[in-house]
Symmetry: C2
Subunit: 349 residues, 2 copies
């Protein structure tokens, strides 16, 4: 017992310092679908990477840079990392006998001193709802700095996926505890638990495939070659789903897919998809719960927009605004003008 | 990917507000050995609680107060809770039809307006290493305020237990990840991971019984009737363990036991023990790792002191200073004056 204000007992973020990041890097390294997608792209295109200059933006532990040197024979790799972990990345590069091939730069990408001509920019910048943390901005700024027709950017494209879903199991699991404990009614706390559940996206969600009420749609496609950072200020994503099974719609789920374009015509595109049909990654899926569930029937159309905007002040944070209507299918065509549902989510400011 | 400074991505403590506490209360309510110990004490002594006035210090969700009303027939219960959750506790009391029996006071115990004479103080104040958060101070101040010879305090006594232990599995699990991933040597990050592992107590530890190198000892006994808050400023706990199996000693583990004295002579004492031989509670056990493991043999004596001091500034925080020697058993009696091992831990400041 005993609760000090609203802070977790051990305030890890203050205490861990550098180690806080290390735990995140461990999580990312342990994420096999993630790391193996990058590795596959490197291995499959190894011949074309020979003697090329590679820039690894936000290299973390240096895994991507070292995989390049291990599996291909690049001329040189510049591994840029702004956090203090770069000191240990440098040591890892040395331990792996790659110090002559990899230059670790402990700096912001934008400030990194690189005199070379860059052929490939590789980066793992994706976050919650694809864009959260907006690390993509550093990748695009490096693209512009080293721009040339033959420049490759990995991933070469990215898509955000959306689907309307039911989430009854999650809903119950989060709230039913408070119904009764030791023969006592604790439902007054359910109000508080429900407020919390609905107040923000649930970023750590594992969407069961069977909870999708329609086929997931790509609502945003980013081409890393042509994308401008300005275009990400306010993104309006259109969607129109045909419900394929009647159920209670609790909200929407998002995930993303990125592609690694092949460097020669005979090679396949490597794909990393974090959706519910794929092996779970550390990104999981992201759940956006409506304030009130909506009953939907097979054939109904969920039509509307998801507007993603950057927070004008906290530039790494996003807002997700859903605005949609449920247009009844044939059996209820009497409703001519259904009312729209709107909800704003902060991710996380 | 993407790491914003050293803070967790979602900064729950800032975001959750009230709900942060609710999650802790859910954890405490879900802890059956904890809640059932209190319930057993109430149920077994129900006859003696009849028409008594009860004070619940730091009532949280109100579980202990409501269990008193449900299972005994007290005259009245005063449930004091400083956090905002008290608003919902009041509603829970009403929902359970106990509003005439329980007065919820949203205040610090020290400021709570109670005109009644109190017969029983009940509180769940125990934390990591028994004393962390020092909520015991509020209980003792209520004891002094309502002091009379017949006043009962539940728990009535508390003991801190200590044992030397091996922790090879934990050690390996925390560090071996960095040896090799994807055929690459990440051991430079192991240094960082090890620094973290050794720098503070691991409060969320599940001590396997077989890892104890001697029998656990009670090194501190608190009698809630006579204990003074001043005596907790700097507590010197003596210990002397005889090693019963040769192994690598990685450090010490602590846990605690509290007792609920019976209110009549024919009743048993109810005990809540959070040690490794008992059902796991939300307190788990607490591990204190030495900087260098020590090889110990059966018959060796681990002799020394654990000094627990309150942080002079952050009054809810503790320091744990271990100072001990390994005195060889008969087979190595040649070492006359073994050197002492000393290590300071911050819990957590
Ligand atoms: Ca606690
Ligand atoms: Ca991330």
């Amino acid at each position: 017992a005993g609760v000090i204000s609203t802070q977790p007992e051990w305030q890890d973020e203050e205490y861990f310092g550098n180690y806080g990041n290390l735990k995140l890097h461990l999580e990312m390294l342990s994420d096999k679908p993630r790391t193996e997608a990058y590795m596959n792209a490197i291995v499959k295109n190894a011949d074309k990477l020979r003697d090329k200059v590679i820039l690894d933006v936000g290299c973390g532990t240096g895994i991507l840079s070292m995989l390049c040197v291990k599996h291909a024979r690049p001329k040189h790799v510049y591994a840029v990392e702004a956090s203090d972990i770069a000191e240990y990345t440098q040591k890892a590069v040395e331990k792996n006998g790659m110090a002559s091939k990899i230059t670790v730069l402990n700096d912001f990408a934008e400030n990194a001193k690189i005199e070379d001509d860059v052929d490939l920019i590789i980066s793992e910048w994706m976050g919650t709802m694809l864009l959260f943390e907006m690390m993509i901005e550093s990748v695009l700024s490096m693209r512009d700095r080293f721009m040339k027709p033959e420049l490759t950017i990995w991933p070469s494209s990215a898509s955000l996926y959306l689907v309307p879903c039911t989430a009854q199991v999650h809903f119950n699991r989060k709230l039913e505890f408070w119904d009764c404990q030791y023969g006592l009614d604790f439902s007054s706390f359910k109000t508080l638990a429900k407020e919390d559940l609905l107040s923000k996206p649930y970023h750590d969600y594992e969407l069961p495939c069977g909870d999708c009420l329609a086929k997931g749609q790509s609502v945003l496609q980013l081409d890393m070659k042509t994308l401008t950072i300005q275009s990400l200020e306010n993104i309006v994503c259109q969607f129109e789903f045909v419900i394929d099974q009647g159920d209670t719609m609790h909200g929407f789920c998002t995930w993303f897919e990125v592609e690694f374009c092949p460097l020669s015509e005979d090679m396949d595109t490597v794909i990393l998809n974090t959706g519910p049909d794929n092996q779970l990654t550390h990104w999981k899926q992201n759940l956006f719960l409506l304030d009130s569930p909506v009953r939907v029937n097979a054939g109904d159309v969920i039509s509307g927009t998801l507007t993603i905007s950057r927070n004008p002040e906290y530039r790494r944070h996003l807002r997700a605004f859903f605005d949609f209507k449920v247009i009844p299918g044939l059996q209820e065509s009497k409703i001519v003008d259904p009312s729209s549902v709107q909800k704003m989510f902060y991710v996380w400011r």
